[in-house]
């Protein structure tokens, strides 16, 4: 018996995922593994609102998590850096559980595969997170650190919401159905990260992950 089996560490998370990055509107990683940003890099801010979730018997519902990450080239080529922020509403035990899950320590996709692409990981940083999960106008902020606000893609001809989805009937890169928008705010300033990519790719999706 390995120690992982002995202590179980079974987790499951059902979350709102609010993501945005420096790619143009399609986000190349979704389709063919390579970012289509000008620099060929990936710089992303992803907010997670845990609708229901647990690690073994520990309840993780209604917690908020933010993942800030950057890779110099395609994500799978590695050398990524990331910071993990967890809302101050989480108890010390919950912070430990979320940090363990998000850094891939308990196994389970996609965290375990992602963990292999990072060379530097900072956190978990416990901070006051404001987060609104909404199909069209999601947002999350940490005062003086980061600010993300989604906004729908507007048809330039008639000013109407274009209502764009990307769906993967057979399972996608991270999610199966994403509501695609753009950002009116997307910035972070914290130690190793300082970027601002307003007006690029944004997606809101529901994800169900487990190990």
């Amino acid at each position: 018996m390995s120690s992982e089996n002995a202590s179980k560490n079974k987790w499951a998370l059902s979350m709102h995922q609010i993501e945005c990055c420096n790619c143009s509107h399609g986000c190349g990683c979704q389709f063919s593994g390579f970012p289509d940003s000008d620099a060929g890099s990936c710089e992303a801010l992803i907010g997670f609102y845990i609708k229901t979730g647990h690690l073994d018997d520990l309840d993780l519902s209604n917690l908020k998590v933010i993942f800030a990450a950057a890779w110099p080239k395609a994500i799978h080529e590695g050398n990524g850096k990331a910071i993990l922020f967890i809302d101050s509403a989480a108890s010390a035990e919950q912070v430990g559980a979320i940090a363990g899950i998000f850094t891939g320590q308990f196994g389970g996709m996609p965290f375990e595969a992602l963990a292999g692409t990072f060379s530097e990981l900072e956190g978990p940083i416990v901070a006051n997170i404001n987060m609104q999960a909404d199909d069209k106008h999601s947002s999350f902020t940490i005062e003086d650190v980061l600010d993300v606000q989604h906004t729908p893609l507007i048809n330039p001809m008639n000013g109407e919401d274009q209502n764009v989805h990307i769906t993967y009937p057979d399972g996608g890169f991270f999610w199966n159905d994403g509501i695609i928008g753009t950002t009116k705010a997307m910035s972070i300033k914290h130690n190793m990260f300082s970027f601002d990519h307003v007006g690029q790719f944004a997606a809101k999706a529901e994800v169900n992950w487990a190990n």
Binding site: S2, G33, F34, G107, A113, G116
Partner: protein
């Protein structure tokens, strides 16, 4: 104590060492042994066919393993982390095995196909196309294939190893072999006809073997590989036309 230390040190590099040895052996064979082993064949015995099959298998391993390195590396990263926390894992080599199985299957099919072509005398005993129309048809077809949705779909899958792992992960040894086999099939869907181009220019033509290995690597590993694959398609089609016109004019 000492052997344990060596095991641990070696364990970290076992995947790279194995793949490096496989590549070294495959390319050594292609550079120095292949033409000696495969004398021109007029009458095909079953031993000749087995030799031909081994040749294809070794060539495919040598040509296709380099561009699959990113996904091997990702799986190895996952395994290294699991090892650190004493969790169960299946060696990355099982994934490589699955990947090679897909290409082994292809090698078998193309060996039989080549044998049939020899029967039709479309290939010379030097394993090279002996008919201009056959060369041109193969080039044109491979050029067209570059533009087909199935090629672009498979290439996208090949170029997104992280997406493949997050959506198709399977546990255990069988799981690793299966994943490798499935990923190998995407690479097959991508490259089978490019590899078959060797029938046009000589199965043992080293320049073409190297050129195709590089072209496949660019398609799979470079940021603009998808665009490149379509440009390559146009070049192949133009090449077919050029060969046809140039030869007809002389």
């Amino acid at each position: 104590m000492k052997t344990k230390f060596i095991q641990r040190k070696l364990g970290k590099h076992i995947l790279s060492l194995s793949i490096f040895s496989m590549l070294f052996a495959a390319w050594y064979y292609m550079f120095f042994l292949m033409t000696m082993n495969m004398a021109p064949v007029a009458q095909w015995s079953y031993i000749d066919i087995i030799m031909l099959f081994s040749m294809w298998a070794i060539m495919m391993a040598g040509m296709m393993l380099p561009s699959a390195m990113p996904i091997f590396h990702l799986i190895e990263q996952i395994n290294q982390k699991r090892k650190l926390r004493h969790a169960t894992y299946a060696s990355s080599l099982y994934f490589v095995l699955g990947y090679l199985l897909a290409w082994l299957l292809y090698s078998l099919i193309i060996t039989l196909f080549q044998w049939w072509l020899h029967h039709l005398t479309l290939l010379s005993p030097m394993m090279k196309s002996s008919q201009l129309w056959f060369t041109c048809a193969l080039l044109a077809l491979s050029g067209i294939y570059q533009w087909l949705p199935i090629k672009q779909y498979c290439l996208s899958r090949c170029r997104s190893p992280l997406g493949f792992l997050t959506s198709s992960w399977q546990e255990g040894i069988n799981g690793a072999i299966k994943m490798g086999y499935i990923h190998g099939q995407y690479c097959l869907g991508c490259c089978w006809i490019l590899m078959a181009l060797l029938l046009a220019f000589g199965v043992m033509n080293l320049q073409w073997i190297i050129a195709l290995t590089v072209l496949v690597a660019i398609e799979k590993l470079a940021p603009y590989g998808l665009v490149f694959s379509k440009i390559l398609g146009v070049i192949l089609m133009l090449f077919a036309c050029y060969l046809a016109v140039a030869t007809l004019n002389t």
